[in-house]
């Protein structure tokens, strides 16, 4: 169980959540941020600071966004497009930095006007 960032983050990538995460478990893709399901400690700091309400605890993710529960995990557990190895457990997003790449689900999403 962990907090999950879903589709509303795409092309917004506000990063307020990254700043309040006490364990550095929110990683930056090209268009969206992803929470590491194993590194998250369920503290809930990220949920209220998201300007587009795109973060929920696993159990509270709306049905329409359920695909993002698995997709957050996929960002870490499967090799990202163009990469040979999965990210695995980097142990901190601050040291890793932005990855510049998204999961197929996110990169195939239509461009959002929200970030403009």
């Amino acid at each position: 169980m962990a907090y999950v960032i879903y589709g509303d983050c795409i092309d917004v990538l506000d990063r307020s959540c990254v700043e309040v995460c006490p364990v550095d478990c929110i990683y930056e893709g090209a268009r969206k941020a992803y929470i590491h399901p194993d590194e998250c400690v369920d503290c809930g700091a990220c949920e209220p600071v998201c300007p587009v309400t795109a973060i929920k605890y696993h159990d509270d993710v709306p049905e329409s966004q359920a695909a993002f529960i698995e997709d957050n995990a996929r960002f870490f557990l499967e090799p990202l497009p163009g990469r040979d190895e999965a990210l695995g457990h980097p142990g901190g997003s601050n040291d890793l930095g932005p990855t510049g790449v998204d999961t197929p689900l996110v990169s195939s999403s239509p461009a959002s006007s929200r970030g403009a």
């Binding site: 700043e19 309040v20 006490p22 369920d42 809930g44 700091a45 309400t53």
Partner: protein, 452 residues
């Protein structure tokens, strides 16, 4: 190139995250983190509920900061006593006060000082093995069958949940043995949570409320009729759903019962035999957006009362302090003097800066904001160049022997082995003498790296 030197007072999340933001910044800086206690991590160690190990694991992230080569830990140093705030101001290029808010707010109603009425701050510190509270067990009459907890936040809920859980549920935690023994002898059957406003206003988080659904031996009672149909605010809606589930649930083997009382405020604590015996509650209602008393009064039996209605800070050394707000006046983290101007080189972060709000991570952004001010103020100003061991010399002259990070690792490893003997991950050392004996060994010995 001489690095800047910054002192951080307080090794809770705000202090450690301030140190992290400094060492990750563009300037060359070394940071000394002071704590009054021999042990680091503040409320993550002494406030986060012992049955919430996942949140406690934030310590792993804080530990990484303390292990950075630019960072030193100086535990068991009481700033304002062992070394003054002014002295720190002269020894460092900047001083960040992150001393938290450790005093529970009072209700200011009759009977508040009766035996058996305590603040959640003290009760939490006691069961967390805080060395200032090792002797405090008599303050908490767990022989009471009915306990009233006043407050509608997660601290109140932590206290209520721990009182409602069985001792077996808690043996796997890091609570010290004397605390577990007392909880095992507890006669508590009913725990009443008293909330001034309605379920839609309560500051509990849904995740903590849902946790109650998993407690097989704890029945939960609340008046489902008080639950509004829903809320546009997603977090309130999640709480209401959790309350509805709690109201609907049937517990077959309920050894204890947790009751939620909404729209109620305590107006007096009633005495019998020299100690609290009951709480007089008044029904509240909302009129034109204001919460007002109805005049309707009831009494609730209570052999013990825990008030959890917020915290305030205490003054630090000679630092300016706003008694009304219970915190240090500041502008973007810069401490403000009586004339309203920023004091040179003094900063605040965390609860002493913004009051007791938010969760652990809130302090990370808060500390980072303060560090932005520090960096701007240091811009163009060369480092003072005070030798790093100057403060060590000052402390040694006064007979102060700080617990270093290695000293803490000795305490840590002793706690882990004490836990291992009992089949638990960790058992805390709750007294000053042992913490000091283990933390400042006569001969420095190497200890294994900590694992949490």
């Amino acid at each position: 190139m001489i690095p800047y030197r910054v002192a951080v007072v307080g090794s809770g999340p705000a202090g450690v995250y301030a140190a992290e933001a400094l060492v990750r910044s563009r300037i060359d800086v070394s940071v000394d983190i002071y704590d009054r206690l021999p042990t680091p991590y503040g409320l993550v160690r002494y406030g986060v509920a012992p049955d919430h190990p996942r949140i406690k694991s934030i310590i792993v992230a804080l530990q990484k900061v303390l292990e950075r080569p630019q960072v030193r830990f100086l535990g068991d140093v009481h700033v304002g006593v062992d070394v003054t705030t002014d002295e720190l101001g002269e020894l460092y290029d900047a001083v960040v006060f992150a001393t938290g808010a450790s005093v529970g707010r009072r209700l200011s109603i009759p009977g508040e000082d009766l035996a058996g009425v305590c603040s959640a701050t003290d009760f939490v510190a006691w069961y967390s093995g805080h060395p200032d509270h090792a002797q405090a067990a008599e303050s908490f009459p767990l022989a009471a069958e009915s306990v009233v907890v006043i407050g509608a936040g997660n601290v109140a809920l932590d206290v209520a949940r721990l009182l409602a859980k069985s001792a077996e549920d808690l043996t796997q935690t890091d609570m010290p043995p004397h605390v577990l023994d007392r909880l095992a002898d507890s006669s508590v059957r009913d725990v009443h949570l008293v909330c001034r406003r309605g379920p839609e206003h309560a500051k509990f988080t849904a995740k903590e409320l849902r946790e109650l659904l998993e407690l097989d031996h704890v029945a939960t009672k609340l008046d489902a009729g008080l639950l509004p149909a829903g809320s546009e605010d997603p977090m309130t809606a999640a709480n209401l759903k959790a309350f509805a589930d709690l109201a609907a649930r049937e517990v077959v083997d309920g050894q204890r019962t947790l009751h939620f009382h909404f729209w109620s405020r305590p107006v007096e604590f009633l005495e019998a035999g020299g100690a609290v015996a009951a709480v007089r509650l008044e029904k509240m209602q909302e009129v034109d957006g204001a919460v007002v008393p109805t005049g309707e009064v009831t009494e609730l039996k209570a052999g013990m009362v825990v008030r959890s209605v917020g915290y305030h800070s205490t003054p630090v050394g000679t630092l300016p302090f706003d008694e009304d707000l219970g915190r240090v006046p500041h502008d973007a983290g810069r401490v403000l003097g009586p004339d309203g101007r920023a004091l040179n080189g003094h900063y605040v972060a965390g609860w002493v800066k913004r009051g007791p709000s938010g969760v652990v991570g809130t302090n990370r952004a808060c500390a980072a904001d303060t560090v932005v001010s520090i960096l701007a103020d240091l811009e163009g100003r060369p480092p003072r160049g005070v030798a790093p061991d100057e403060v060590d010399r000052v402390l040694a002259e006064r007979g102060v022997r700080p617990v270093t990070y290695d000293g803490w690792l000795s305490i840590d490893s002793e706690e882990l082995s004490r836990g291992q003997v009992l089949g638990r991950a960790r058992t805390k050392i709750p007294d000053w003498a042992t913490l000091r004996r283990v933390g400042v060994p006569g001969v420095r010995r190497t200890s294994p790296r900590s694992s949490h």
